[in-house]
């Protein structure tokens, strides 16, 4: 666990929150091990993982708390988001209720977590929509995926990109649509979070001082959202 890179390196605590079965663990598994498991069994309690993320100027070591989404674990969540510098709130874009739950988590984080926490809203399971291929270069994956769905419009999307996007902008959240299965946008989420962490809080100083620094000027939407959004605008009106 010793940092061996010459670049300045710092740890960032990150917590994943969201309804059960939206794909939190799958996102982490993709990010940490570049792996995916079909029908993964539910997380019990929470899992702690670490992964380094190399930025041009520095190395960020993510200390990730992957929490269980079931209601009964909700009371333990503060233990995990307390002192966290970043949070990934995940919903399933084929399940509208999961976005509602995600909004609850965002509200709770804004109320209770450390001020200045970087929150990313992530709509997962992009592979279940028919724009998965359009938004990334994994054409072959998308094709095989499309072949799996019997319907011509195998689009299971129930939450439009625009809806989630506008909510994210309102609340000042990073926003991504991802597929842990295909790997779409997964690293991008974590990179964007790493970029958005204010320098000040990287010194290990947490508290009011670090609060207001809005390093989000990176504007992740510029880099990451164009793909999904473009395709979504084509398909979006259909749903």
């Amino acid at each position: 666990m010793a940092d061996s890179t010459p670049k300045p390196s710092s740890s960032v605590k990150l917590v994943l929150l969201g309804e059960a079965a939206v794909g939190k663990s799958s996102l982490v598994l993709r990010f940490v091990n570049n792996d995916f498991q079909e029908n993964k069994e539910p997380t019990i309690g929470a899992a702690f993982l670490t992964q380094k993320c190399n930025l041009p100027t520095r190395t960020i070591k993510f200390e990730i708390w992957d929490t269980a989404g079931q209601e009964r674990f909700a009371s333990l969540a503060p233990m995990y988001y307390r002192n966290a510098q970043s949070a990934l709130v995940v919903y399933d874009l084929t399940k509208p209720t999961s976005l509602i739950k995600a909004k609850h988590w965002v509200a709770e984080l804004q109320r209770q977590a450390s001020p200045g926490i970087v929150i990313a809203l992530v709509g997962n399971k992009l592979d279940l929509t028919n724009e998965a291929g359009a938004s990334n270069s994994l054409g072959d994956d998308a094709e095989s995926d499309a072949a799996d769905g019997e319907d011509v419009d195998g689009d299971a999307r129930k939450v439009s990109t625009a809806e989630a996007q506008s909510y994210a902008e309102e609340e000042g959240l990073l926003f991504f649509e991802t597929s842990a299965k295909l790997g779409t946008n997964v690293t991008e989420v974590f990179t964007a979070i790493a970029n958005a962490i204010p320098e000040t809080s990287l010194k290990g100083i947490r508290g009011p001082g670090a609060a207001a620094a809005p390093a989000r000027t990176e504007d992740p939407s510029r880099v990451n959202l164009t793909g999904p959004r473009d395709s979504a605008s084509k398909e979006g009106c259909a749903c």
Partner: protein, 645 residues
Amino acid sequence: MPLDERSTDASEHAGPTSIDTEEESDSGNHSRVDKNNNKGEKQRPPLPPRPKAGLLQSDASPNSPQSVKGLRPSLQSKPTTALSSVDIQTLSFPDGSRGTFSTPGSRLVSESVMGLSTGTSTPSGKASRAGIDMDDTTSLISYAPTLRGNGDLESLLDSGLDSPSPAWKLLSTQSEAANPFESFEYEGPSLHSFDKEFDEIEAVDTKRGNEEELLIQWKSKLKHYIILSSAGKPIYSRHGDQNLINGYIGIIQTIISFFESAKDPLLGFTAGNTRFVVVTQGPLYLFAISKLKETDAQLRAQLDALYMQILSTLTLSNLTHLFTNRPNTDLRRPLEGTETLLSSLSDTFTKGSASSLLSALECLKIRKTQRYVINNTMLKARTPNLLYGLIVAGGRLVSVARPKRHSLHPGDLQLIFNMLFEAGSVKAGGGENWIPLCLPGFNNRGYLYMYVSFISARENAENVAERPSTASSVSQEDEIAILLISAEKESFFELKEMRDDIVEQLEKNGSMDIIKKAVRVGRSSATEMVPGTPLRHFLYKSRANVQFTMPSFSPDFGSALARRKLMNLYHALHASAHAKHAHTKVIHCISTDSVSLVWTTASFEFYCIAGPNTSRAALAQGANKIIQWVKREEERLFIIGGAVF
């Protein structure tokens, strides 16, 4: 062919038994530990015995010991009512072994468990016999063509053992050929559907109208576990989705409630070859349906374990609270995500588990001094908030650190092992885990927090310690897990440090390599333990330590089906030995395809099985040698004392 002959014999081997205990002796009764167990066990045993579940029901169900050969489609033995007792005759075969077979006699021995355990016979000779009722004068030769006619259904036990003499083979062949068109329901669970037992039943699709087909599938399952609330809300069912079984849930609720309201709780009933057992726990009804001929007590213990799993998720306080406030609570939501745990626990029972049968744990066999080093490493690394520390390798315990006043309940450990090694949800995620859980045997009202970290025994420790493999390619047998349990929910990082410390020290003093090597080697076979032994498999439970040891299942019992048959036999033997009023110390059981022996003393329970033609003397000698071997290896096989702080 279950129980063609059986002789129960309490007198012959009773010599070394000083005290015959029916119930497991609690940790207090060291004075009763007999001479067989006289080494270093004076200290408090590490694990308290699990209280025995309810008493055996005397019932009409066919839960007598059956042979592992129950698969055969045409089962010729007569139903219980047609039992005829026989005299045992002993034949000396040319190879010097002896075999017994029976001729119709005059004494009736009940087919029930109680019958088996109490129906002792004198060595001179009568035994119950539930099968070969054909005319002994029938020509043997005429059946010769069917000698090996069973194809893949043939006995798993007769191959590869000292070949049965021709006469013996012919005898058994004849017994099979006796009444080919009669099938006796009670005889042998139809294990031929066993390989489909764990297949998922798809969801009901009303459009496609597949319900009928699914119901057939559902009914063909050998084992069901259904949990519902007393208000009739479904909570869990191993097979079939809610739409499929809702009707049955209603029926079950009605039946149980009817008896409840009559203040005469229903415990179980039989329909055909299927046994139904009910356990009522507060607001929950737990219901088991089994065609595997387990006894009520065994099914009850299984249901209790499922109940413990529910408590482990919710705690008793929460459960009570939920139902006090709203009697018609739908418990599925609070239990969300634990279906896999209940299912893997159920499947463990259906596959057959020596650990749950004996309520005991298995340990990794390493040298006493090596275990001592590991124990000390744990103790040295101990942090203030540690309650229990365990190192588990390949599903077997390596070391336990525990406070002096607390021991670990086998039932609790079973839940933990199930979560970590069977359900796989923890391992699959990689990384380290922090799991709130209630250990009902320890305290059913509060949560403890368990730190879990896996280390693969295959790869080099360096990279693996950092990032346990998430791939399912690493089989559970190769996983080493470090479990640290605390009552303090904020102590994750403290325990994580302790774990790092332990791993570092174990690497340094070479213990990690020893553990990995022991895991890779696995269990040795019975022949490796005692060369030339006629025994194919055995279970040895040390009562004082609440631990057991057994040889590997391979080569004779490698497949799931073979294992289930073996476990069927063990279940039957266990039931016989633990029948309430049977102060049986030795049971010798002969059937066409196996010979088995149970031997219980105050310090151990021993179950073993050998090929069908093994003589009683050879079996007894084999058993003796294994027991001597266990005594010799005792401090390697069992954790005695453990790391106590």
